[in-house]
């Protein structure tokens, strides 16, 4: 660190240190009064206060919104309709055919999201596992390549969408390559299959670096002597992978699985910029549906959007519980291993 860096650092940190000292006195008093339990509350308070006002309270409000109708934004101007919005969302003659549903677009979005998540998570796990295994090999420039795959994680979703739109549109890079290879150019985003595949590919492109690192950490934590022992026994590499690597990588794989599942359900900005939900509605995903119904159109229906988001939230809560259960299990396992 240069001298300038040090000075700059102290400019930022000095006030913080003073602040920390100042905070100590009232907290000591609080600690004497309430003991350790009170201290836990004190440490939690700032975060929970902000969290409560800007996350929990809006969430609760969202629930109230879901029981109202109208285009008004202020809750006081809205009409209470009970469970009507939910009934409207769930009304379907035949759940396998979106067109028979009262809110056909919601069901199209739900179906698209379902297939998107399954395929995207599978691809994410496979691609990041392969990449992690390759990066775990003893190769030159490992640090560099690790960073390479991480680069897109730093980009904003809007930029990611824009970048890929500029590649896949008619005047895009991909068509330039096609023309140079003597192939016919294609309007990629006009084709249902290509567009759908593009949304999957782009989200894998944007996030795989993060998951690769998680898996890489897992791979590096596997004790080397296990492999050496296997090699001495002459175990074939395939068996080593299935018997040693995969089981020990399990907890990390679980994290990757659940995190990418949650992120997958929430997919929005990239796709909104890239395909806008088209062609037709084949890349219309739930978050975009909710955003458009509740916020973006002039004849907005915040009540319906809120109800849809709560239904989506219910599915996600189930996923959360799965995640908690998995991390519990892996925590327990980790303790046993240690």
């Amino acid at each position: 660190m240069s001298a300038i860096g040090k000075t700059l650092g102290s400019v930022v940190t000095l006030p913080l240190i003073w602040l920390a000292r100042a905070v100590d006195y009232p907290l000591r008093w609080w600690q004497r009064k309430t003991g350790q339990g009170g201290m836990a509350a004190a440490f939690l308070a700032p975060n929970l206060a902000i969290f409560g006002v800007f996350v929990l309270f809006p969430l609760a409000l969202n629930f109230v919104y879901s029981t109202t109708a109208g285009t008004n934004v202020l809750l006081s101007d809205r009409t209470f309709v009970g469970a009507d919005q939910y009934a409207r969302l769930l009304a379907c003659e035949d759940y396998t055919r979106a067109i028979t549903c009262r809110e056909d677009l919601f069901w199209r979005a739900a179906g698209n999201t379902f297939f998107f998540v399954i395929l995207q998570v599978t691809m994410m796990v496979v691609v990041s596992t392969i990449t992690a295994l390759i990066l775990n090999r003893n190769i030159a420039g490992r640090g560099f390549f690790r960073a390479v795959f991480f680069f897109p994680v730093l980009l904003s979703p809007v930029v990611v969408g824009l970048i890929w739109r500029w590649i896949l549109q008619r005047q895009g890079l991909l068509n330039l390559i096609m023309v140079n290879l003597g192939l016919d150019p294609e309007v990629w985003l006009n084709d249902r299959t290509y567009a759908f595949a593009a949304t999957i590919g782009v989200s894998v492109w944007a996030h795989m670096g993060f998951y690769t690192l998680i898996l890489l950490a897992g791979l590096q934590a596997i004790p080397r002597d296990l492999y050496e022992a296997a090699e001495m026994d002459g175990t074939p590499p395939g068996r080593v992978f299935w018997r040693i690597t995969l089981p020990l990588l399990g907890p990390n794989l679980a994290v990757v699985l659940v995190l990418s599942l949650i992120k997958g359900v929430q997919i929005f900005d990239e796709v909104y910029v890239l395909t806008g939900g088209g062609p037709g509605t084949s890349t219309l995903y739930l978050t975009q549906y909710i955003y458009e119904v509740g916020f973006a159109s002039i004849l907005r229906n915040p009540g319906l959007a809120a109800a849809a988001s709560i239904l989506m939230g219910l599915v996600l809560v189930v996923l959360t519980l799965v995640q908690l259960w998995l991390s519990r299990r892996s925590e327990g396992k980790g303790r046993r291993d240690a």
Binding site: S282, T283, L299
Partner: protein
């Protein structure tokens, strides 16, 4: 607790600045731009401030998304800027400031802007809400050079939609362009053509009528043209919902010989095409009932919740004055909505491009060719509900997700839902 102190400090600081800046009134104008109009407006405001040192107008240039999504919520909670450039004129009419008591000469406003006040005030009101910064007219453009190169004669003034699409398709085959034509992805854009095929949206009591055969006639044509590859597919197909897309970029790049968009493209086409080819505005092709386009526009309105209505009116008086409207239109290549200027004519549009003056003239002419439905739509409360349903469902039909009959049924349902929700 912390938050309160923080806010108290902020409030104190705000009071402090207010006290020192007592002699000037600050007004906020929320503005979006499609081209250079933001710069022109800033220029005009600078001039205004020079003449009126007691008023400081801050121009907040925003993305159109802000006008569309955020401003309505601000307005609903009784907030917002003092002046705004908006496009949803009718739906939000209850939030506009009635300038009648504040402007210097209400008669001037009535005389020059009065015929469009109904677009931006509640039914039955006689308020003066603001004025159109630009009048837009929907219409087509043709790439004259491409037609000449293909040796295809451009259809004449009474040509039908089929004539134009077929002619453009001949050009496509001869010149190898990506498609024959494109219509902007917008319900507003196809409503003129719908009217030309005898559509009616408005029931007798002013509520939306069911989608009729006239509407479906043109929608069906458009869907089929898209499936046949005559219409550039990405404009309508590669988006869901009511997202707006234009084929202008492909027209600019000579990838389509015929574009159906509107008068606001003139400046855009002129700057981006340059001398690459000759283009002409052609008005609207004909259907069975007429050759209608559709008028529209963006308006500058005062916001009811302003604390300085007198000052707002002074700014509006300045910007609505004949001289300023003339200058604004000449510099931005927008059609003026000022009756006096339109009558006097002789606008000296600031462009060296020989394609520009005839194009603007053609649009002025086209505004006289609209059918009754098209004239009613801008002042009709439910127009956007109709437009939204048309776009969403027609593009699903183009993508082969639903049939035309299903599309028709879903359009009716969407419109009914919107009306029901809005009246709750």
């Amino acid at each position: 607790m912390k938050l309160n102190t923080l806010m108290a400090t902020v409030a104190l600081a705000a009071l402090g600045t207010a006290a020192t800046a007592q002699d000037t009134t600050e007004l906020r104008m929320m503005w979006y731009s499609d081209g250079i109009e933001g710069e022109v407006m800033q220029d005009l405001l600078d001039r205004f401030e020079e003449e009126n040192p007691d008023i400081d107008v801050v121009l907040d240039n925003v993305a159109y998304q802000v006008i569309q999504e955020q401003l309505p919520i601000q307005l609903a909670s009784g907030q917002g800027p003092d002046i705004a450039r908006v496009t949803n004129l009718k739906e939000q009419a209850q939030h506009w400031l009635d300038l009648s008591d504040y402007v210097e000469d209400a008669a001037y406003w009535e005389e020059n802007f009065g015929n469009r006040f109904d677009w931006m005030r509640e039914d039955g009101s006689d308020a003066i809400p603001g004025f159109l910064t630009q009048l837009t007219m929907v219409g087509g453009y043709a790439n004259k050079t491409l037609f000449e190169q293909a040796g295809v004669e451009m259809p004449g003034d009474d040509a039908t939609w089929d004539d134009w699409v077929n002619a453009a398709d001949e050009v496509r085959q001869s010149q190898g362009t990506a498609a024959a034509f494109a219509v902007d992805r917008s319900g507003h854009r196809i409503s003129g053509p719908n009217a030309s095929f005898g559509a009616n949206y408005i029931a007798e009591d002013g509520t939306p009528a069911p989608v009729d055969d006239g509407t479906m006639a043109f929608v069906e044509k458009l869907v089929n043209w898209t499936k046949e590859g005559k219409q550039l597919p990405e404009v309508w197909v590669s988006a869901a919902g009511t997202t707006y897309r234009s084929g202008a970029d492909d027209f600019i790049n000579a990838q389509i010989p015929f574009l159906y968009s509107g008068s606001w493209q003139v400046a855009n086409l002129s700057t981006k095409i340059g001398d690459a080819f000759d283009w002409v505005a052609i008005g609207s092709p004909c259907g069975t009932a007429g050759c209608s386009g559709l008028a529209g526009g963006a308006a500058l309105v005062g916001i009811k919740y302003t604390e300085h209505p007198e000052e707002v009116a002074r700014v509006m008086d300045f910007l609505a004055s004949e001289e300023i409207v003339r200058e604004f239109s000449e510099r931005t290549l927008f059609l003026p909505a000022h009756a006096g200027i339109v009558e006097a004519g002789g606008l000296n549009f600031q462009s060296d491009d020989p394609n520009v003056p005839p194009a603007l003239d053609r649009f002025v002419q086209a505004s006289g060719e609209t059918l009754p439905l098209a004239d009613q739509l801008p002042a009709w409360k439910w127009a956007n509900a109709y437009y939204g349903a048309l776009v969403t469902r027609a593009s699903q039909a183009m993508a082969d997700e639903i049939t035309l009959e299903e599309a028709r049924m879903l359009m009716d349902q969407d419109i009914a839902d919107a009306v029901e929700n809005a009246s709750q």
